[in-house]
Symmetry: C2
């Protein structure tokens, strides 16, 4: 992107971490991580990546837009499923290379394309040395809609 980004320029580490300029850091691919959490419960429901356009559209519209790395296109979460993410609040982390969104999930209230409320519907057992046989467990209490 050659046009100036609609955000502040990156300053020193100190100004980035302790100042009030919004100077998001995009990686080599022009992307920044965005985490969506339920605004009421704080449950992490999904993670995805935004380019500068997606971040600007999300801020302006109050609905989450992302960059699809596989399809190489801008997309609005929920555009086809109805599960749009409506922003209640946006935050940025200390070094400004990650975005946090507190959201409500529109439609039938599930954020994951598999149908679960959250993409994190399986637990990883802890302890011992991991092996190829380590088996995930499904969170049976998580709401799911057949997709």
């Amino acid at each position: 992107m050659t046009a100036p980004l609609p955000f502040a320029k990156r300053g020193t580490a100190e100004t980035v971490e302790t100042g009030t300029d919004f100077a998001p850091k995009f990686d080599k691919s022009g992307l920044i991580l965005a985490i969506a959490v339920d605004a009421t419960t704080n449950e992490v429901v999904m993670v995805a990546y935004m380019n500068a356009d997606a971040l600007a559209k999300t801020i302006a519209s109050g609905e989450a837009w992302f960059w699809s790395r596989s399809r190489e296109t801008l997309w609005q979460k929920g555009e086809s499923s109805g599960n749009k993410l409506k922003l209640v609040e946006m935050r940025v982390d200390c070094d400004q290379d990650a975005i946090l969104m507190k959201v409500t999930i529109a439609g039938d209230g599930v954020a994951c394309h598999v149908g679960y409320r959250s993409c994190f519907y399986r637990t990883v057992p802890l302890g011992d040395e991991p092996t190829g046989e380590r088996t995930l467990a499904f969170d049976k209490s998580m709401p799911r809609i057949e997709k």
Copy 2:
């Protein structure tokens, strides 16, 4: 890394998303995203990246290890600050390219090196078109320790 990773091989999209094999997807740099949330409140406290060794050590020890992209070294969160992250639970997302850790924060209970409980101590105002003048607001209710 030439030695076999201590995790299952990636199967089809369907087996990765709906099966019980733990087959984490590391990116081109050999890294996977890891999000740490407070086990009691679900508040997102920090995000960082793990390589396969860091993930294996985290699972085996129940304490969070990461890969430092800047220092190019394995590091244990809290090794110097005392703010180790003790895992209560680990989860993986649908396509297994992101890890979620529910943790308790040891020491003085802050996860961010700036001294805040969470790295996400500033909000980004929503609405309108973003400009370089967009100003972050500090969450004054967030606990902070002088570092």
